[in-house]
Symmetry: C2
Subunit: 113 residues, 2 copies
């Protein structure tokens, strides 16, 4: 089984529509970084994804490093800053598709958004 995990910078308290757009951005960006075997398996399995939260940008940067070390595709999303937050603010991190157990181990400490 494979899944995607999108981890949101919850300190920003984004409006729900803005938040959803950022999560979608992370899902697409991380998918495009993933090798086709894993991507295709994830599509066949119905694109399972989970959205988690962290308290600050630093947690996302650290998690990105741990994901890269584990061979998991990871994409930090920075907002273009046209609307709600300052340009360059990291809004979320997309991980995978990757093996469910690998992602669960990387993100076990984080709660569902």
């Amino acid at each position: 089984m494979v899944k995607q995990v999108i981890v949101v910078n919850n300190s920003l308290k984004l409006p729900k529509g803005k938040l959803a757009a950022q999560v979608a951005h992370a899902a697409v960006a991380s998918l495009l970084r993933t090798e086709s075997d894993l991507s295709n398996q994830w599509l066949r399995e119905g694109m399972p994804k989970v959205v988690l939260k962290v308290d600050d940008e630093q947690a996302l940067l650290a998690l990105r490093e741990r994901a890269a070390a584990a061979g998991v595709s990871a994409e930090l999303i920075r907002d273009a800053g046209r609307t709600v937050v300052a340009a360059g603010t990291i809004t979320c991190l997309g991980l995978g598709p990757a093996a469910t157990e690998t992602l669960t181990a990387l993100t076990a400490e984080y709660k569902l958004l």
Copy 2:
């Protein structure tokens, strides 16, 4: 310019994490239905997307038909029903990537989520 529009069934009042996952699902599914010229242009332009809302499922079904008639890729997302809503409930509709003016004409009556 091309963009994606994701339209949410706002009558469901989904929790924000669940909502974000459904919007991401729609973004990926509609992207995968889109011809590569448009998809590649959208990726080059930074994957612009907008999240709108409607009041009920019927509005999404009607919009899907209008989008199809306009040649815009469209994917209805039904929830698997494991958690918050009944299985098969339509949570959102992903449109495009498609020409910004085409999508704006199709969705001009709807408000930002």
